[in-house]
């Protein structure tokens, strides 16, 4: 293996995933200082990249209160939605629907009774009127 080819394989070699080129590269690395230097450079880079995860970056100061606010209003919104859904589901519940139907029926009967009574009274009144005319 030549240095040129070796250079292409080194970036994957550091994963130690083996691969078809690994043994040829191994052989080359044993004889070539320059490519061993390359390998070391990649290993240094790997170490530095892995260490970056713990090197955090300070967020802008407004972000924390803004996020907490956003979360609070989302929680409030979800509560409203949940409450609305509960009302809807309760109305959709067949037992509730039956009870609701019965209530409407009762209300209807009551209204009907009032109307009938009213009509009877009207009839009575008009009867009296007729009687008065005839008197």
């Amino acid at each position: 293996m030549e240095c040129r080819e070796a250079a292409q394989h080194i970036p994957s070699y550091i994963d130690q995933s083996g691969g078809p080129a690994a043994s040829a590269l191994d052989a080359h690395l044993r004889t070539c200082d320059r490519c061993r230097g390359e390998l070391d450079a990649y290993r240094d880079l790997q170490g530095a990249l892995a260490a970056l995860a713990t090197q955090t970056i300070e967020p802008p100061a407004w972000l924390l209160p803004a996020t907490i606010d956003a979360v609070r209003s989302r929680v409030r919104l979800r509560r409203h939605v949940a409450a609305a859904r509960e009302v809807r589901d309760r109305l959709a519940d067949p037992r509730v629907a039956a009870a609701g139907g019965a209530a409407i029926l009762l209300a209807g009967l009551a209204t009907g009774a009032v109307l009938i009574r009213g009509r009877r009274r009207r009839r009575l009144v008009s009867g009296l009127r007729t009687a008065a005319v005839h008197a």
Binding site: L45, L49, A50, A51, A53, V71
Partner: protein, 202 residues
């Protein structure tokens, strides 16, 4: 990131104060990943905020097979990828999954330094990462910085595992050139002291 299990469990039971505690304990890490993926502080802030709104719903599904930080980083990455896709669409850029290395022109390299402490090295690495195309930067950030599996990286980006690997190697190669090679070359050119850094074009 250090979020006690007890706080996570209280969040899962819907305790709003615990959730605020969780934000306080993890926001810096979430923001850092978001910034490394989006490369832009405004987008990173938006991604960090959206991550917690998404978490509000999904924290119940966290079962503790993975570390909580790994899980949270996965959610963050997913939100960040959505943000990058939206940005590419808005700017009529190539979608993340179709980015080609050839289309990218390496910027002039930044200021090298011979002896760097951890903090300085981190800063230089971060700025080197920023110069990579977004879809390549995402691969190296997820894989080499945050330790995602290549399968997971491919999944997040909507590319195959093999394609993710190719991107990873290109990105590593470029970073190595930017960081490791140029530093001694510059040190040789300008000497150990300071001095007007400028010089050689290859």
């Amino acid at each position: 990131m250090d979020v006690p299990t007890e706080v996570i469990e209280r969040c899962q039971q819907g305790d709003p104060l615990a959730f605020e505690e969780l934000i306080r304990l993890s926001q810096r890490d979430v923001y850092s990943l978001a910034l490394r993926l989006t490369g832009n502080p405004d987008d990173a802030a938006e991604v960090a905020q959206e991550t917690y709104l998404r978490l509000l719903r999904s924290i119940k599904t966290f079962r503790g097979e993975a570390k909580f930080s790994t899980w949270l980083y996965r959610v963050t990455s997913s939100v960040a990828m959505t943000s990058l896709r939206k940005r590419a669409r808005r700017r009529h850029e190539v979608p993340l999954e179709n980015e080609q290395w050839q289309d990218w022109h390496a910027p002039a390299s930044g200021d090298p330094g011979a002896e760097l402490d951890r903090r300085q090295l981190a800063e230089r690495l971060d700025s080197a990462l920023l110069t990579l195309p977004a879809g390549y930067r995402a691969v190296v950030v997820m894989r080499d910085v945050y330790g995602f599996s290549l399968a997971e990286v491919g999944n997040q980006l909507g590319i195959s595992e093999g394609a993710a690997k190719v991107r990873l190697h290109r990105a590593r190669q470029k970073l190595k050139e930017m960081l490791v090679e140029e530093a001694p070359a510059q040190a040789r050119a300008t000497g150990p002291g300071k001095g007007p850094s400028k010089g050689e074009e290859e």
